[in-house]
Amino acid sequence: MYRYDEWDQRLVDERVAQFRDQVARRLSGELSEEEFKPLRLLNGLYLQLHSYMLRVAIPYGVLSSRQLEALAHIARHYDRGYGHFTTRQNIQFHWVRLEETPDILAELAKVGMHAIQTSGNSLRNTTADQYAGVAADEIADPRVYAELIRQWSTLHPEFSFLPRKFKIAVSGAARDRAAVKTHDIGLYVRRDQAGELGFEVLVGGGQGRTPMLAKTVRKFLPEADLLSYLEAILRVYNELGRRDNLFKARIKILVHELGLEKFTELVEAEWAAISTGALRLPRDEIARIRAQFAPPPYEAIAIPVASLEAARRKDPAFARWLRHNTAAHARPGYAIVNVSLKAVGEVPGDIGADAMEALAGLAERLSFGELRVTHEQNLVLPHVKASELYALWQALVPLGLASANVGLASDIIACPGLDYCSLANARSIPVAQRIAERVAALGREEEIGELRIKISGCINACGHHHVGHIGLLGVDKQGEEFYQMTLGGHAEEDASLGAIIGPAFSSADVVDAVERVIATYLGLRHPGERFIEAYRRLGPEPFKERLYAAH
C-alpha cells in the first residue's frame, strides 16, 4: 500500500488545524453560513436532513486494517455506531456534529486519511478497480496511476474552482469493474504494439440529469504523459465549461456541445504546449510509486488446495459463497474475497463499528492487513489464502457479512435517498430492502444469475440507476413516492445506458414490477444467457408488455 510521506502527512495535519480554526470562527459567528459553506464543502462536510454528514476519502478504494479500525472508532465515538460506503469508494458518516468535526479530521489524519475534495467543484477521489494488483486479468496495477493522479490533483491551485465536480476512474484490467465510462475522465490501461504501457483516454461520461457514456479522445497515451494530458483536458474544461447553468456545467455537456473532434483538437493543442514540461513523468518516479504497491510476501502454494475442496464438498452454503463472493487471484493458491454489505433486509453499504473492527482484524490476519471498497458498496479482502477461505467464511457468518450474493439480484446499489439526503425526492433504501426480501422469498437468486439492480433517490443518480440492468429512479408525484424504471443499463467495458420502460410505478407496485421483469427474463432467456445479454437480444417490448399489460 502507498504510505504517506512527510509532505502528505503535513498537508493533512495542516488542513485539520485550518478547519479547526474555521469551525471555531463559524461557531463564534465571525463567519456567516454563506462564508462558511464553501469551506466546509472543501472538507467533505454536508448539511443533510438530520445532521451534518462527513464524507471521508478512501483513495482508489484502498484501506488498511488500521484505517478501518480508525473508521470504526469514529463511527462509535462521533456518529451512531455505523458508516455508509458509497458508490465513489468513500465512506460517509451521517450523524456528525459540526463542533466535533475537527476532532474527527484529527483522528483521520493519524491514519493518513482526510475528507479533502470529497465535495465541491473539485477533482474528487480517483476511483479504481477494487481488484487492483491482484486481478488475474490485469494488464497493470491501476493504483500506481490513481496515486499519481491523487498527488497531482490534491489542492491543485488551478483546478480548485472548476465549473462543477470532476471524477476520474482507472481500470488496469481486461474487465471494467470501475464503471470507467460513467466518469468525467476514464482511463483504461493499455499496451501498445511495442509492449509499452499507456492509456486509452475517455472523456465526458457521467450520470445525473443528462447521462452520457465517456468517449475516447485518445486510443493510446504513453504512460509518461498521463498527468500532462489530464492537465490539458482540465484546462480546456476549466476555460470553456459552462458556469452559467448548473445543469450544463459538467464536462460531458462541453464535449457534447463542442463535438468530440473539436474538443479533442483543443485538448491536443493545449497538450502540445505542456507535454514536455514539468508534468512529464520520469520513469524512476513511476517506478518509485510502483514500488509502494509491491505485492505482499505471498507464499508458494501448490494447487488445488485439498482442504478447500473438502470444505466445498462438505458445506453447500460455503460452496455457494465461494461461487459468488470469490474471484480469481493472480497468484496460485490465493483468492480475492468479496465481503457483501448487502445482507437481505439490511441497508446497502452500511456497516456497524463492531463489524468494521472484526473485519479489520480478519484482514490483518488473513489479507496482509489490506481491504478494498467497491463502487458497488461492498468490501474486498484482496489476498486470502485458499486454505483460509473456510475459516474466513465461518468468521464472517456471525458478523452478518457472509451473504453469498455478489453480482446477484439482492446485491443492490442504493444511495441514502430520502432517509438521509437533502437532495432526494424518494427513498431508495427501503425499496432495495423490499426487492432483496422478495428475491430471497422467490428462492431463485442463483438461477436468475447476474443481475445488477441500482436505485437512486433523485436525478443526481448517486445510485447509478442509469447503468443498472434494472434501474430505479425515485420521483415525487404530488407528494407520493414513485419509481421510474430503466432497463438495459450496464457499467462495464461494453457499457450502455438504460432506457425508460414506461410510466413510473408507485412505491406499492415497484417490487412487483421488478419481479415481473425478472420473470419475463427467465421465461425468454436462452440457456446460459445473462440478463443484460437477453435484454440486448430481446429489446424492451416483451418487458413492457408484461409490465403494463394489466394497466
Partner: protein
C-alpha cells in the same frame, strides 16, 4: 390558509429543530403554529434573526396538519426529518440465507 411552522438545522450539531414559544427545540410538537400568511411571515422573520445570530442554519416554513393530538408535517421529507430514517441502520444480524 394551511398551518405552518418554522424548521431549521441547529448550527452546532445539524439536528432538525423547530421554532417554539421558548426557542428552538427538537420536538416538532412544541413548535409555534402560524395560521395566517402574516403570522407565518413574522415567524420566519424571527427565525431568520436567530439564523443571523448563529443558532440555526437556513430556516424555512413547512406545512403541518393539526390532527388533534399532534401536528403532522404534510410532506414525507419533513415527516422523515422529524422522526428519523425509516430504516434501521448499522446493526447487522447474522446473515439470513438467500436460497
Amino acid at each position: 390558509m394551511s398551518l405552518e411552522i418554522v424548521t431549521a438545522n441547529r448550527l452546532r450539531d445539524g439536528r432538525a429543530v423547530y421554532l417554539g414559544e421558548s426557542g428552538w427545540s427538537e420536538n416538532l410538537q412544541a413548535a409555534q403554529v402560524a395560521g395566517s400568511a402574516a403570522a407565518a411571515k413574522a415567524l420566519l422573520a424571527a427565525a431568520e434573526a436567530n439564523a443571523a445570530a448563529n443558532a440555526v442554519v437556513a430556516p424555512y416554513l413547512i406545512e403541518v396538519a393539526d390532527e388533534g393530538d399532534r401536528l403532522v408535517p404534510q410532506r414525507l421529507r419533513e415527516r422523515i426529518r422529524e422522526q428519523g430514517p425509516t430504516v434501521a441502520a448499522g446493526a447487522r444480524p447474522p446473515v439470513r440465507e438467500v436460497a
